[in-house]
């Protein structure tokens, strides 16, 4: 544990910090320091998407003034410390989520693909195409250890929603390598942290070295070649998935040069922070009881921050809940119902108040993410300045299941490419995909379009 905070304080802090704004004392001093990296002055761009289920309180989201001189709306209050690095975009619609047979899942799987989602009749799981984060990962993720990360808080729901023929898998997947291939998510902080950082935590007992992994992975590739000779086309696709997966671990775990490169850029500050995280995760596992997922959400966020900071990865997605999540939010003051239930508020003021409080909690987590990134210096900028952190939900108002005027934010300017610090309203029915296209353009990824986009917002680009 670092000097900034003791174990006890931290534990007490868990309860207290929920409703409080971000506390600087929780950040180790070193985290605030300027840390040189091997990357020199040119900092990479990072991207993350934070997904929230069930929409937001429709009347407390959009700030009333537009342009750069705007007051944060009640729901956006948690973002007050990073307001000038925030872009509020209204009026966007995910058109392929309009008039679907189902209210949630088909508006989740395609939030980052902006394509139609297929009904699940037989084996056809299909979100329509690659998601924008994966397209970015294909371009900017290759040089980092992990091309991209997918995190969530809850296990995927099983089964197919019988009344609509939609697999619940759609409600737990926003990152898609292709329309038919969702990325798997990590939902456990310990596993997510260890996968990336275990080897670099000072003093941590390491598992016995595995000198034969490369040999094993080599020969199982031969197995694929052999099996392929007896297989049809669809089988070969399945084997292709296996082969791709094997190659991706080889590339990462057995490429000693890139591992050395990675290790070399882990500064002493980062190591201290890794150690601190390691302890926090242990404590969380030991003490986390009941329904309060705040600390778990923050651990996942901090792991993403560490990944961006150390350049372990440049692209991430994080689902604060699965689609139509019915999380019990009774750990919040004034909330005694579950999330999906209150989202069907029928304009009942008591339910709407709870709905707003739950939305506020989500904004606090998003704000925590932005502030952590903003606390890390990169040259004379911060990590947040070099990132674009998208916030999105597939619905505006849970009661209406409507994918119009979606609650959309971007935090950070992607290395000074996006004009932040303003509240903008696009023309009604502008495709959400135009924003995806805009973010791709801000990353110098040239595309003719994305999803159902019909242009991009040059006015948002610097």
């Amino acid at each position: 544990m670092t000097k900034s905070i003791s174990r006890r304080n931290l534990l007490r802090g868990l309860g207290a910090s929920i409703a409080l704004p971000f506390m600087e004392s929780l950040v180790p001093k070193q985290l605030l320091a300027n840390t040189p990296t091997r990357l020199g002055s040119k900092r990479p761009q990072r991207f993350a998407a934070v997904y929230m289920p069930n929409g937001v309180h429709p009347d407390r989201w959009t700030p009333t003034q537009f342009g750069s001189n705007f007051e944060l709306s009640p729901l956006l209050q948690p973002l007050k410390h990073v307001k000038d690095k925030l872009l509020v975009v209204g009026g966007l619609v995910n058109k392929n989520s309009v008039r679907t047979v189902e209210g949630h899942f088909t508006k989740t799987a395609n939030i980052l693909t902006s394509m139609p989602v297929a009904r699940t009749v037989d084996s056809n799981v299909d979100s329509g195409g690659i998601s924008v984060d994966q397209l970015m990962a294909n371009h900017i993720g290759k040089t980092s250890l992990f091309p991209s990360l997918q995190y969530g808080l809850d296990r995927m729901s099983s089964g197919v929603c019988k009344s609509t023929g939609i697999t619940r898998l759609y409600g737990s997947a926003i990152s898609w390598q292709s329309g038919t291939k969702p990325c798997s998510r990590e939902i456990d902080p310990r596993m997510a942290f260890d996968r990336m950082f275990r080897s670099y935590v000072p003093g941590k007992i390491q598992p016995a070295a595995d000198p034969y992994r490369q040999s094993v992975l080599d020969v199982v590739k031969n197995d694929v070649q052999r099996l392929n000779k007896q297989m049809g086309i669809e089988d070969k696709n399945k084997m292709g998935e296996y082969l791709d997966a094997v190659r991706s671990i080889e590339k990462r775990l057995d490429n000693l040069d890139s591992l050395k490169d990675f290790e070399a850029q882990i500064t002493p500050d980062m190591r201290d922070e890794l150690k601190c995280m390691d302890i926090r995760i242990d404590e969380w596992a030991e003490y986390a009881e009941g329904v309060d997922v705040t600390e778990k959400a923050r651990l996942m966020i901090d792991i993403m921050v560490l990944a961006f900071w150390s350049d372990a990865s440049r692209v991430a997605t994080f689902m604060l809940g699965n689609s139509a999540s019915n999380r019990n939010f009774s750990f919040l003051d004034g909330v005694h119902d579950t999330h999906h239930a209150v989202s069907h508020h029928k304009s009942d003021p008591r339910l709407m108040e709870q709905y707003a409080r739950i939305g506020f909690w989500h904004m606090e987590q998003y704000a925590y993410f932005l502030e952590r990134l903003n606390a890390i210096k990169e040259g004379d900028q911060t990590l947040l300045d070099n990132s674009m952190i998208l916030f999105c939900s597939g619905l505006r108002d849970g009661m209406r299941h409507s994918p119009y005027d979606l609650p959309i934010l971007i935090g950070g300017s992607g290395g000074g490419r996006i004009k932040t610090g303003q509240n903008i309203r696009m023309e009604d029915k502008t495709p959400l995909a135009n924003l995806h296209h805009t973010m791709l353009t801000a990353m110098d990824i040239e595309v003719n379009g994305f999803g159902d986009s019909n242009g991009y917002f040059s006015e948002l680009l610097v």
Binding site: R99, V121, S123, K162, S163, S215, V219, D223, A245
Partner: protein, 531 residues
Amino acid sequence: MDLKHFRILIIIVLSGFVHQVFADTEADRRWRRISFPIFAKHCTSCHNAADKKGGIDLDLYYYVPSVISRGEMFQHLVELVKDNEMPPPPKPPMSKAEKDSLIDLINGILEDALSAPDPGPSVVRRLSNREYTFTIKDLLGIDFNAMEFFPKDGSGGEGFDNQSGSLFMTPLIIERYYMAADSIVRVVQNDEARWENLVPRSYSPGLIRRFTNWVKGTVFNRPIKWSKPTDLAKEIILPFATKTYRRFLSQEEQTDLIQFFDTIYFNGLWNKQNGFNEALTTSFKRILVSPTFLYKVEVNAPIHKPYPISNQELASRLSYLLWSSMPDDTLLRAAYYEDLHDDAVLNREAQRMMQSPKFERFSQSFAPQWLGVEETLLNPVADEKLFPEFTDALRRSMLDEVIDYFHYIFTERGNLLELLDSDYSLLNESLAGYYGVPGVQGSEFRPVQVADYGRGGILGMGAVLTATSLPNRTSPVLRGQWVLDQVLGTPAPPPPPDIPQLEEAKDGAHDELDVRRVLEKHRESPLCRVS
């Protein structure tokens, strides 16, 4: 899946036939010759790979079997074309000649398909997490909870977690497979009894051998290799791989496995203490991450009509169906010495397997997924304040009732109709108490007469009634839909696209009305009145 389809499913699974398409036939060519120009002219400007309007890409259907596999979709297409709904105005309509030839062609293909049932291609699929857990248990006697350790499997198609289309492989999953193999092998290694069972004889080179090797390696710089350890390893690795892969190994596979052992052993392990065992554990690990283990592979014959799968493949199908796991030795022996395609043999083995306690896994996995009740009971949405009695224990009991009832019918009663209706159910004390059925004590489930209490059959089960309810009340709509879909096999069509969402109607009066009145009100609306 309804009862009728359930029977067909069992028949298809056990008939042991698959159909794989490689060759391009005259029928395929005719299909393309006639349909492709029409699609190109009228359809694929929207229904292509990029736009995929309505989720449909008509460029995908190159072969007749691919048309048959999406028969329902093509049937729908015929309807829409017939009614001039597709192509939609303002797009120019199809000419009569185009319409006729397309409709005749598709109808012809679908009718032919009905008269000659096609088992369809068999697609290789990964073991589901459930199957992985039980396979490891039956292979090594180790309890490894894959359901917790691996990212969760989604469900495809009819709602089952063993559907090929939703059993993906990703970098994260393969990493976990590797870690799992590693920890499973370590558990075996650290457990003397288990290890000896797997490796009855170990090996370490004697003094003379060490000296010879030293001379060979250091003095003459020649590669070191001698036959004894390889021979011994062969006797250990090959039987293990055969069992793990659930089939005989090809000559090439055997050579490959042994070569792998040799490479590891002779390059650095031979002169280490425990080196032989270390090379063996690495070989076991290699087998446990091989696609041959992780996937259920069936060899595809390059012919264009149904053909029988091999005996060993059929054994695997049978055991994964009934046990969620690999075949046992008895079944493998039957597959080898007898013919599982012989009804008498198949029947005998199926009966035997259904007597085994392992058959409970079938009921545990199949019944709740089939009825679609697992999700509602494990992640309940019921309003806790309205239903405080709906506790974790009660939920678990409701799920167990489904499983045990199903199992009881399958193993004791043998009458599937009792799923629909009967005068008994399987209850324990807490569930009987909840149902108001007196005289049941203890946590064991047992058959209880319930006819007087409105129970009996799936429609009286707490699990089913909960799954077809809203958080705060019952829902005649959901329940009706469930019966149409699950029991009768005639699902209601999805709502027409122009209906506003119920909530969008913004009818505050709904709250004040009881459910019956709300539904009557809905029925009055012309939009909602679907005939």
